[in-house]
């Protein structure tokens, strides 16, 4: 009897070991997002999108690696609390302990710039979801780093073209005083000079400021033809409300940082009329049917909204980043150098933020077709005329 029982247990153990051997080693992708802190309105949809893709890919059986077998996908996600130091620690942990093949994130430009050294030294591909062009430029010095959001100079270029086309040549500028706003200012100043725009006022405010009336009063005194505010909610929403309260009537432009429903929700009716350059996701339904991205955009918007609520461009950046990492792994498995090379040679990848054509000299892979002007009309996004 005892012998029988032992045989049975032994058989079960062998069977179990057999079953484990059948399941392939999971492919591991790391992710660092700002799930808390000032960047959380961006970081949370990014995390949600990563989780959604992980679940969807595993529901299909996983990733088919170069060995021809299906491997489950494991995305290890850490929160950097919108903090540079924590981002570096998270990246180190992903590389040293979790042994990930590639990292997606971070959410913010500052945190992405902070972890550049770490990933470059460890030779791990990083696909950033942050805006600043500096993250991937010059590409020769950023061998291991890619990014999916439209670079700030691309977005600013679309805005400046629009301003010029509308004859708005005296433009006041306000920006939030951290990396996103400061880099936006650097690009805007450059583009404005080239396009012959004058900037009578340029002001800053803090992301935690409760009132931007003082800055806007200076704007009012300068009487520009248009005002640009480069920030993210909540400060972007407060500035918008202060703007309406002060009775300023010139058109207000903002950044792609307000491409989420939170901005409209917090600013209320004051948001009406605000225009901003952003990716096409927000107005996917209004795109022409022959737009190459339309089908991908609608599918993502549907999947995301079914699970997490209103779409926003930030989740789209994470979608692109995770997909690029997955495509790299499909071709090179856990070989980090191979994954890097695969991403760099990606052409004509139809993503959420645009159609990507990477090259050894371009680690963003997007051009101006990836952004357009969008206007808030009665709390809804419309393509701007």
């Amino acid at each position: 009897m005892h012998l029988l029982l032992m045989l049975l247990i032994a058989a079960l153990m062998i069977g179990g070991a057999q079953a484990r051997a059948d399941a392939q080693e999971p492919y591991r992708i790391g992710a660092v997002f700002s799930i808390t802190g000032p960047g959380s309105s961006l970081g949370i949809p990014e995390r949600d999108t990563a989780l959604m893709l992980e679940a969807d890919i595993n529901a299909r059986g996983g990733i088919k690696g170069p060995d021809g077998r299906l491997h489950p996908l494991k995305i290890v996600i850490y929160d950097d609390a919108s903090d540079e130091t924590k981002a570096v620690l998270a990246a180190k942990k992903l590389i040293d302990e979790d042994k990930v093949t590639a990292i997606v994130g971070t959410t913010l430009s500052g945190t992405s710039l902070a972890i550049l050294d770490t990933v470059q030294k460890a030779e791990v591909p990083l696909i950033s979801c942050a805006a600043a062009a500096k993250i991937v430029e010059p590409a020769a010095e950023r061998k291991w780093v890619f990014k999916t959001p439209q670079s700030d100079h691309l977005i600013v270029g679309v805005l400046v073209d629009y301003l010029k086309a509308k004859g708005l040549t005296r433009v006041a500028w306000l920006n939030v005083d951290y990396a996103f706003g400061q880099l936006g200012w650097v690009e805007f100043e450059k583009a404005a000079q080239t396009a012959g725009l004058s900037i009578p006022v340029n002001e800053k405010f803090g992301q935690k400021d409760v009132d931007m009336t003082a800055q806007l009063t200076r704007v009012k005194a300068a009487a520009p033809q248009a005002v640009v505010v480069w920030s993210i909610p909540p400060s972007a929403s407060i500035a918008t409300r202060n703007y309406a309260d002060l009775g300023l009537k010139m058109p207000m432009f903002q950044s792609h940082g307000v491409g989420n429903k939170k901005f409209v929700e917090l600013a209320g009716p004051a948001a009406n009329g605000v225009m901003f350059p952003a990716g096409k996701l927000l107005v996917a339904e209004q795109l022409a049917d022959n737009d190459p991205q339309k089908a991908v955009l609608l599918a993502y918007a549907r999947d995301f909204e079914a699970r997490y609520g209103p779409r926003n461009t930030f989740g789209g950046h994470a979608w692109d980043a995770v997909q690029l990492a997955v495509r790299g792994i499909e071709r090179a498995g856990i070989d980090r150098a191979g994954v890097r090379a695969a991403i760099e040679s990606t052409r004509n990848f139809v993503g959420i933020s645009g159609v990507f054509d990477f090259s050894p000299t371009d680690h963003n892979g997007l051009d101006r077709r990836a952004a357009m002007m969008i206007q808030v009309v009665d709390g809804q996004w419309k393509t701007a005329k």
Partner: protein, 291 residues
Amino acid sequence: MGEQLAQYLASGLVVGGIYALIGLGFVIVYGVTRIVNFAQGEFVMLGALGMVTLTARGYGVGTAFVVSLLAVATVGALLERVAVRPLRRAPALAVLILTIGASIALRGAALLSWGTDPLAVPAFSAGPPLVVGGAVVVRQGVWVLAVAASVFAALWWFFNRTYAGTAVRACAVNPRAASLMGIRVDRVSLLAWTLSGALGATAGAVIAPITYATYDMGLMLGLKGFVAAVLGGLASPPAAIAGGFALGVLESLAAGLVSSAYKDAVAFVVLIAVCLAQVAGWLPWRVAQES
């Protein structure tokens, strides 16, 4: 230029009213217990988020205000009973660190309950902003000033016309003598913490419609309130009120006339300057010392 100046003053006074309310909380707790309560800013945050939850449940602004004020006052009282009282014989530094710990704990709890998104609170009364002497003031800004003024008046009455208020002042002057006169110092300490919770909640509730409410709003507001209190010598409620308004106006003028980049720096430069002036003996008033 005159119109611009009026705008800076108006904006500064509204923000200053908030700093003054928070600064008062610091002064009352410090006066009675000689503790700088770094969780004061978290009371503000709780008051604001309380308004968010209650107004979202359909309660009127008045009801929501009173309920969230009472709730945060209870948090203040609990903090005194559970955390501060057991440490009353500990060195001041230990209690200071405890209040920092309490503030981190409260912020973490708020993060878990309310999430990280900024949340909107309806204004107390709707309508376009008012124009006063060329300056634009949102209606909620008028509410901030009105509520702050009523709180100041009520506190003055309490401290000067009631037995309990006199007891608080007595403990602030000399706790030992007060206890020899039959005042229950521990009860007064509880009262001070409850009051400072209520003050913080008031500040949070009136400012939330302007600034939105987030779990981490308390840190910066608390620091600014602390600077306001120090500016007023950390011992006298009227001086803390003056300190709050002075700081608000100074910040607004700095942002408007110099550069908005220096706005936050103003508060901390003022703090350092006041501390140095105090050490050098240049101040006509002094920061309260250990008694």
